[in-house]
């Protein structure tokens, strides 16, 4: 038995294989030209624009997620930061009061000699501090509201951009996957 003949038709021919080739040769493929129908749309490569659209959408989604995360984290961390600030730097009124108390204690001995001299600044500082505190709080609240509104606007813009991008991506995918045949007749009605 000659293996080479069976493998690549070289060497001494194997009579049995040759006979089989002859007999089975009648079933061999007979070349016939292929005729592609005219309305068969040509296959399209995956377009670069579609790939770019996908990449842009992914990038936009990441950007949106990042901004949203940043907005929410800053919103949640601002009250905490304010609390932290208050803990680190207690409000000026107790300081002033403490200072006044200390001053009172130190000046206790001189109270008789100068009884009204120490009371005047104490009475004046309290409304000023309260005014400043009130003004600070109002400014902080206003700032926070402004930031929240801005964040909401940004969020809405991003959502809109995402919607537009996803719609464009869908269109691109639809075009890439189902290219419309050029000669297709739409709304064809049956003629009796």
């Amino acid at each position: 038995m000659n293996d080479d003949y069976l493998w690549n038709k070289t060497g001494k021919p194997d009579p049995e294989v040759q006979e089989l080739e002859e007999v089975l040769g009648v079933l061999r493929y007979k070349p016939r030209p292929i005729v592609l129908p005219a309305n068969l749309a040509r296959p399209r490569r995956l377009r670069l624009s579609a790939l770019l659209a996908v990449a842009a959408c992914v990038a936009l989604a990441f950007l949106a997620a990042g901004l949203w995360f940043a907005a929410t984290s800053s919103k949640s961390s601002k009250p905490e930061q304010a609390k932290q600030r208050q803990l680190n730097n207690p409000s000026p009124s107790p300081n002033v009061d403490n200072q006044n108390v200390a001053k009172d204690q130190t000046a206790g001995t001189n109270q008789e000699t100068q009884p009204k001299a120490n009371n005047k600044p104490q009475q004046q500082s309290q409304p000023v501090v309260a005014y400043h505190r009130h003004r600070d709080n109002a400014a902080v609240i206003a700032k926070r509201n402004r930031e929240r509104e801005e964040a909401l606007e940004v969020k809405q813009q991003l959502l809109m951009a995402l919607r537009v991008a996803s719609e464009k991506l869908n269109q691109a995918q639809r075009k890439a996957q189902n290219p419309a045949p050029p000669n297709q007749i739409r709304n064809q009605h049956k003629v009796s």
């Binding site: 069976l6 493998w7 690549n8 493929y29 068969l40």
Partner: protein, 196 residues
């Protein structure tokens, strides 16, 4: 001066370093070029792909479905391949890709219409040569799956082992094993039939 001439003679006599391009690699590059051309809208290139791979598709079908159905199925498979060509990622793997489409289509065919097939096959094979060929083909079809496709491609379509390997994507070693084992089994069955 003489030295220079001698060197020139020596250079002329020295065989040029031949860039030995494997036939398989050359086939693959042609395949890639044809697929690219088809994707760029060249329909003639698809005709060339068809001419190159139709025997492969024909052989795979012949090993699985009735002969009368094969011609139409070959055309159908190439139309399908034309429509789906953009999904082919590795352009050099057109052969294995279309071979897989063909195997799937043959399975679909059996799932849909089994009964019609066998009767038509018997009715059409009236010619002596063809009936003998069909008998042997039936014996090949009865062999295990791994062998019948390779044997049909070798004995019916006349492809060599390396060609079968390169077009189906199988390794040459496995094609060689399938050919030899399949041939051995076929010889045994032919001997049994002749003894009867």
């Amino acid at each position: 001066m003489h030295e220079l001439e001698a060197t020139a003679d020596f250079l002329l006599m020295t065989p040029q370093p031949q860039t030995s391009v494997e036939p398989e690699t050359r086939d693959k590059s042609i395949e890639v070029a044809l697929v690219r051309a088809v994707l760029d809208g060249d329909r003639d290139a698809f005709g060339q792909l068809y001419a190159q791979f139709a025997p492969l598709v024909h052989g795979i079908l012949l090993a699985r479905v009735p002969r009368v159905e094969v011609e139409d199925l070959v055309q159908d498979i190439f139309f399908h391949a034309f429509n789906k060509l953009h999904t082919l990622r590795d352009w050099a793997a057109f052969g294995p890709w279309i071979a897989m489409i063909t195997r799937n289509r043959a399975m679909d065919f059996h799932r849909r219409s089994r009964e019609t097939v066998e009767i038509t096959d018997d009715l059409r094979s009236t010619d002596n040569d063809i009936s003998r060929a069909m008998e042997i083909l039936e014996m090949i079809r009865a062999l295990p799956d791994a062998y019948h496709e390779t044997l049909v491609l070798r004995l019916v379509e006349g492809m060599t082992g390396p060609e079968i390997a390169s077009r189906t994507g199988l390794t040459p070693a496995s094609v060689r094993v399938n050919l030899h084992r399949g041939m051995k089994l076929l010889r045994e069955r032919l001997a049994i039939r002749e003894n009867l």
